[in-house]
Amino acid sequence: MKRILVACGTAIATSTVVAKKIEEVLGNKGYQVYVDQCKAAEAPSKAANFDLIVTTTPVSGIGDVPVIQTVSFLSGVGMDQDIQKIMDILGLE
């Protein structure tokens, strides 16, 4: 199963809903993915175990793992394009 790490500032509000939204949208398309969430500051230590990082705030020091920085899952603006990006990166058709 593909693994996505969702990061935000303090993991209080935004990463929770973003993680759920990604899981839901991909689920509706028939893809089961594992989604976990963390604070942006924790991303470097967790990144290696994931195929993709989706973050609402800039992250650094995460090596070769692809990163999508976006707030589309909160604002609704550009969400479809970001879902497509996620599917492309994870190789989901």
């Binding site: 935000c8 500032g9 303090t10 993991a11 209080i12 509000a13 935004t14 929770t16 809903v17 759920k20 939204k21 942006a40 973050t55 609402t56 705030t57 800039p58 920085q69 976006t70 707030v71 899952f73 909160l74 604002s75 609704g76 603006v77």
Partner: protein, 157 residues
Amino acid sequence: MNFDAFFSEDLVFFLNASSQEDVFKQMFHRMYEQGYVKESYLKALSEREKVYPTGIQTEHIGVAIPHTDSIHVNKESIGVAVLERSVSFIHMGMEEHTVEAEIIFMLAIQKPERQLGVLQVITGLIQNKELLQSIQMAENKAAIITIIQEYSQKLNV
């Protein structure tokens, strides 16, 4: 989700505020007076906003979802403010962009993993142009509570 645990007319605001700081102060004042947040909440909120800004440009208007660590919260709640004039927030994740926020959802959250329902309601509202417009046009606090309540029932979270 237990709607009444999070939303009440007491925490709906029609604000005439001059700045982000003023919005924070006015909303904090009532939330603190009524025991929802600790005295430390205001400072923590402002500091977190500087590091991790919460302005969000939606399709239609700018909003903001200021929040801070749960240790500053006594009782979970959501403050909803409709601003007479927009105030500037830095856009979430984009230091160089500002958002003219017209509606504020101030989140006093304790256990995020258990609060998915209410967070989904907030995000759903933010993504819904018609609902944001109806909140802005609402004539009184009760009308705003009704809009959010009906939406949360529809969402069934």
